[in-house]
Amino acid sequence: MDSKVISLVVNGQHFEKEVETRHSLGDFLRNDLGLTGTHYGCEHGVCGACTVLVDGCSVRSCLMLAVQSDKTAVTTIEGLANEDGSLGELQLAFRECHSLQCGFCTPGMLTTLTELLRENMNPTEAEVRERINGNLCRCTGYQPIIDAALLAASRLLDKHRAAVTAPRS
């Protein structure tokens, strides 16, 4: 068995673990770290459910080996809430807009849209649609997910504007 010790940060916490080199990042997160919020649907890069952020970039965790995450910072759905444990803006919007039913695709949707909102605080509906075109959802018909992304974006933009225009004390 070929294995290697990797050192990485997952959701702000540092880990040093020995992994079998043939194991994917998703398997490592789920089986070795117990972070089962990352879902495995197809395991060949089609469904998007296993999407996580590696150094801020969305990747399919089924198509990246765990050894390749050495010296990176990984964010999974477990790391998207605020530090006090309350839901983040995108998660709140998902709840309000009924953007999930079975919840299987949700981890991939949230991580993918987190990257979008970080890059573009004012996306158009078309841009949101384009961004989640690699994530399959069989419950919602996508529209509530798009609504939530746009709602979260408008709130983040409002907050940003308020912060920029706030008088300095």
Partner: protein
């Protein structure tokens, strides 16, 4: 679904990678892994050694030279897609990448990986063909260059030896003012094209074609260049008649592939429609006489 066991290697220089590739038996190169890892998960591919190129930084650059742009084999698809240099000199490439897969895949996937995987429906060999790409491969024996027209040995197989790896591609830069277009049809945006068409055109001041390049993917193992049309249509006016003429010429292509979902006739139909659309857009975008 797990890959069969393999020994993992992580070279940090090209020299080291070539040494490993030249000495190990049944070794496979891991680029972005967006096609290889699914194939390994399904156990279609079971290498004994996996040589990961992700730490070989010398293969990840984009560089402009007189007349051509050089893209390193390990350059991420997303990096190419958003590169201002690529947008300025080869806008066709950016438009093609609008259609390549999804953001999560483009964040990992590489241009070189895609060319070596050589899926017949992939946009990347197609725009490479339209831009007369020259592929550079290296081994311990030295470097050699392979023109894109000679790149495919057969279905999903580049003409490259087991000890060779691709280091980069040179794409021709067309003069300022050229028209370009990439059009494709896929069932879901981001999926592989059923048929895709890349067009480059240069018009003179009277709106006559000075130079034309048309490449089509999804109809054969490798992208097909419409060389007959490219020669025949030089001097013709950039109008509907010329577009109709080229659509007629696409009908003469024999041996269009088919599968359980898309018949050869359907692909022929798509090829005509998409070629027409791409030609029209490329004409509209071209500046007659070029621009400074």
């Amino acid at each position: 679904m797990k890959p069969a066991p393999f020994k993992y290697h992580l070279p940090s220089t090209l020299e080291e990678a070539l040494e490993l590739l030249g000495t190990l038996e049944n070794a496979k190169i891991l680029a972005g892994g967006q096609s290889l890892l699914p194939m390994m998960n399904f156990r279609f591919v079971m290498p004994d050694h996996l040589i990961d190129l992700n730490k070989v930084s010398e293969l990840q650059d984009i560089e402009v030279n007189p007349g051509s742009i050089r893209i390193g084999a390990m350059t991420r698809q997303h990096a190419i897609h958003v590169s201002p240099i690529v947008r300025q000199f080869t806008p066709l490439v950016v438009e093609a990448y609008d259609n390549v897969s999804h953001r999560q895949i483009r964040n990992r996937g590489t241009y070189g990986g895609s060319l070596c995987h050589l899926d017949p429906s992939s946009e990347q060999p197609c725009f490479t063909a339209a831009l007369d790409g020259v592929i550079v491969v290296a081994s311990r024996r030295g470097n050699r260059e392979i023109r894109i027209s000679e790149w495919a040995a057969m279905y999903m197989t580049p003409s490259i030896e087991t000890d060779e790896l691709m280091t980069g591609v040179r794409l021709a830069i067309w003069p300022p003012g050229h028209g370009w277009c990439f059009e494709e049809y896929a069932r879901r945006h981001g999926d592989y094209a059923i048929v895709g068409v890349a067009v480059l055109v240069l018009l003179d001041e009277a709106r006559h074609i000075k130079r034309l390049s048309v490449a089509i993917c999804g109809i054969d193992a490798a992208p097909v260049r419409l060389t007959r049309a490219e020669e025949e249509l030089v001097g013709q006016e950039a109008d509907d008649e010329t577009i109709n003429r080229i659509c007629e010429i696409t009908k003469t292509i024999e041996n269009v592939m088919e599968d359980a979902h898309h018949s050869a006739d359907y692909r022929r139909h798509l090829m005509q429609v998409l070629t027409g659309r791409a030609m029209r857009k490329a004409f509209d975008r071209a500046t007659p006489g070029g621009s400074s």
